[in-house]
């Protein structure tokens, strides 16, 4: 396939279609609306299912239904809409049906605004709903990755019968970049054995998350936990750039990682040995990979478009003794390379001062300009 200049939101949608998405249910919300709009024409052209739901609550429960019927199904939304889907996510997790969710985050809390944000990191990685579960969370940083990870999302969802999120900040949804789309996959000829299709010639199937007895519900939870453990061993993904010789390593994902990359290049030109570690799966978090890098670098500068969320996973990974500094912008602001460079230079200077002093300086909250 030749390269095309694609908008992130359109790329998500077209990639899903090529990955064999058979049904889409969604509700408009900026900054992901172009995704729904693309689906509204392409899915119908292809004779697949597209429906604009009356709300996000309805959308996720339609997704739940289609997933229970065993088709490849997806929805997409942005922060407030994702909040409304929490109950549905929990039901889908409890019923172990596969579904793909695209979350193009915007500034919060509340109505907030529609500018790019990463303030829902905790929401997708720590608690996408009530009860003990984690969706797999993929975080693309380019339009090409948006495509590749959407395809991956469908495969992982099916493999583990789980929820898979692809999360992007509004900038990735809105920007255009050259990217290559995969060929169109043929749709599966039959449904999974557990799917609801009518009990003709077989035992009836039930899709359900209700287990009245504590013992039976605990059994379900054990199964879910071992599935999560399996995912934690098999599906961790991350990307590292110039981390081998680095004194200082940026840790960032999505657009923040792109900006950090630019800052890194500038700083390297100035002779500072800076690297970049980019979690690609936000859950499972690439803790081992990060820990290994901590072994050979002197400090981390975590850059996020929020008040400091992933930084807690970084600190939990490397412990309170390892220098971890945070720089964040909130409310839809995107950090500029210059800001990151400034923070990096400050930190780099401190690296020359005794460890303990440094540690004391490492603030807990965000230190954003």
């Amino acid at each position: 396939m030749p390269q095309a200049l694609l908008k992130g939101n359109v790329a998500f949608a077209e990639a899903a279609i090529r990955a064999g998405c058979q049904a889409y249910f969604g509700y408009p919300i900026t900054p992901q609306t172009e995704l729904l709009e693309h689906m509204s024409s392409r899915m119908l052209e292809l004779g697949r299912t597209f429906l604009q739901a009356e709300s996000e609550v309805a959308a996720i429960n339609m997704v739940y239904g289609a997933a229970a019927a065993g088709v490849r199904v997806m929805t997409s939304s942005s922060s407030p809409g994702i909040s409304l889907m929490q109950e549905g996510f929990s039901y889908i997790a409890g019923s172990e049906v596969p579904a793909v969710i695209i979350d193009v985050m915007r500034g919060g809390p509340g109505l907030g605004n529609i500018q790019p944000s990463q303030a829902d990191y905790n929401q997708v990685t720590k608690s996408a709903g009530h009860g003990d579960f984690h969706p797999i969370v993929l975080a693309p940083a380019t339009v090409q990755e948006a495509i590749d990870m959407t395809v991956l999302a469908f495969d992982l969802a099916e493999k583990y019968r789980t929820l898979v999120f692809v999360v992007a900040d509004g900038a990735i949804g809105q920007m255009m970049e050259p990217a290559t789309l995969p060929p169109m996959r043929s749709l599966p000829s039959e449904r999974p054995a557990w799917a609801l299709t009518g009990a003709e010639g077989r035992e009836r199937n039930v899709v359900n998350s209700l287990y009245l007895g504590a013992d039976s519900l605990e059994l379900l939870n054990r199964r879910l936990q071992s599935k999560l453990a399996e995912i934690e061993t098999n599906e961790v993904r991350s990307d590292a750039l110039h981390t081998d010789d680095a004194d200082l390593v940026f840790v960032a994902f999505g657009t923040a990682a792109r900006v950090a990359r630019t800052a890194m290049q500038t700083l390297r030109r100035d002779g500072l040995r800076v690297g970049l570690f980019r979690p690609i799966t936000l859950w499972p978090f690439p803790a081992e990979q990060l820990a290994r890098i901590a072994g050979r670098t002197r400090a981390f500068l975590v850059v996020e478009m929020n008040a400091g969320q992933m930084v807690h996973d970084v600190r939990a990974t490397v412990g309170a003794t390892f220098p971890v500094r945070f720089y964040g912008r909130m409310g839809g602001a995107i950090p500029m390379p210059e800001e990151i460079e400034r923070e990096a230079r400050l930190l780099h200077d401190e690296l020359m001062t005794p460890e303990d002093e440094l540690r004391s300086k490492s603030p807990n909250g965000h230190s954003g300009s």
Partner: protein, 268 residues
């Protein structure tokens, strides 16, 4: 659980009524005399008679009927509270060949699920909705429902439902009948044998509406909750007739032409 094998000699005996095949042998958890059970066997009989057991998909809801997926011998799922119509939409849209029906209580359908049922009807989703109106929240222990009667004492309206605070009872069969996608919307009652038989006819028509692809179909059934009404099963049936029916008149609020003509022909 087991079923009793009933022996008889077809030579000299004719089987007039037997437990429908579309019901599993499981013993229900319903309270004694709760007409949820009655609605169950009517739906099961209709499924048997239409021969659609192996095409049907039940979307159970959250309410006392939460375990319906254990009682109907069909593919089934359990929706989130109030969202059965959305879940059914998701299923029917990708499985147009299946017969998809929801089974919902009044708290589920008329309260938390108002938007989903309204839009399923507006879109004319090809699903059949069995709506159990017992004027109360049974599962959670007898709180007020949007369908509770004025003056009705419940655990969340201890002084009786006051219209000034909680409004008047909502008549869903009428409201849903007014939506453009609705092919069939009627209200029936389960309080005595004659009405049970009429209810069954309506349920059958509700499924036929879907089989004919005419649009959204809902059958509202006035049903009892002896436990939370604090009455004996038979007192409950009297309460349905004397107290509920005046507020919830039985009747046909929307019947698509195709369904009318059909019924007439059969009558002949």
């Amino acid at each position: 659980m087991d079923t009793v094998e009933v022996e008889y000699n077809p030579e000299c005996e004719q089987l007039v009524y037997a437990r429908p095949a579309a019901l599993t042998p499981v013993h229900t958890h319903y309270c004694p005399g709760c007409t949820h059970g009655t609605a169950h066997h009517l739906v099961a009989e209709v499924i048997d008679e239409l021969g659609i057991r192996d095409r049907s998909i039940l979307v159970a809801s959250v309410g006392c009927s939460v375990f319906a997926y254990n009682y109907f011998d069909v593919d089934a799922c359990e929706a989130a509270h109030g969202r059965a119509p959305a879940m059914a939409t998701g299923i029917k849209r990708v499985n147009p060949e299946n017969v998809v029906f929801t089974y919902q209580g009044d708290g589920d359908l008329a309260s938390i699920g108002a938007a989903e049922i309204l839009h399923a009807a507006a879109r004319g989703e090809q699903i059949t909705v069995i709506f159990i109106n017992n004027a109360i929240y049974g599962m959670t222990g007898g709180q007020m429902a949007p369908t509770s009667l004025i003056g009705q004492k419940t655990t969340s309206s201890p002084f009786g439902r006051d219209a000034a605070l909680a409004g008047q009872p909502i008549r869903m069969a009428e409201i849903l009948a007014a939506l453009p996608g609705t092919a069939y919307s009627v209200r029936r009652s389960l309080h005595d044998a004659r009405h049970v038989i009429q209810a069954k006819k309506a349920i059958k028509t509700g499924f036929e509406a879907q089989l004919k692809g005419l649009g959204f179909a809902v059958v509202e059934l006035l049903s009892s909750c002896p436990t939370n009404w604090g009455m004996t099963p038979s007192e409950s049936l009297t309460w349905i007739e004397e107290k509920m029916m005046p507020t919830y008149p039985l009747g046909d609020y929307r019947v698509a032409e195709e369904l009318k003509t059909r019924r007439r022909r059969r009558a002949r």
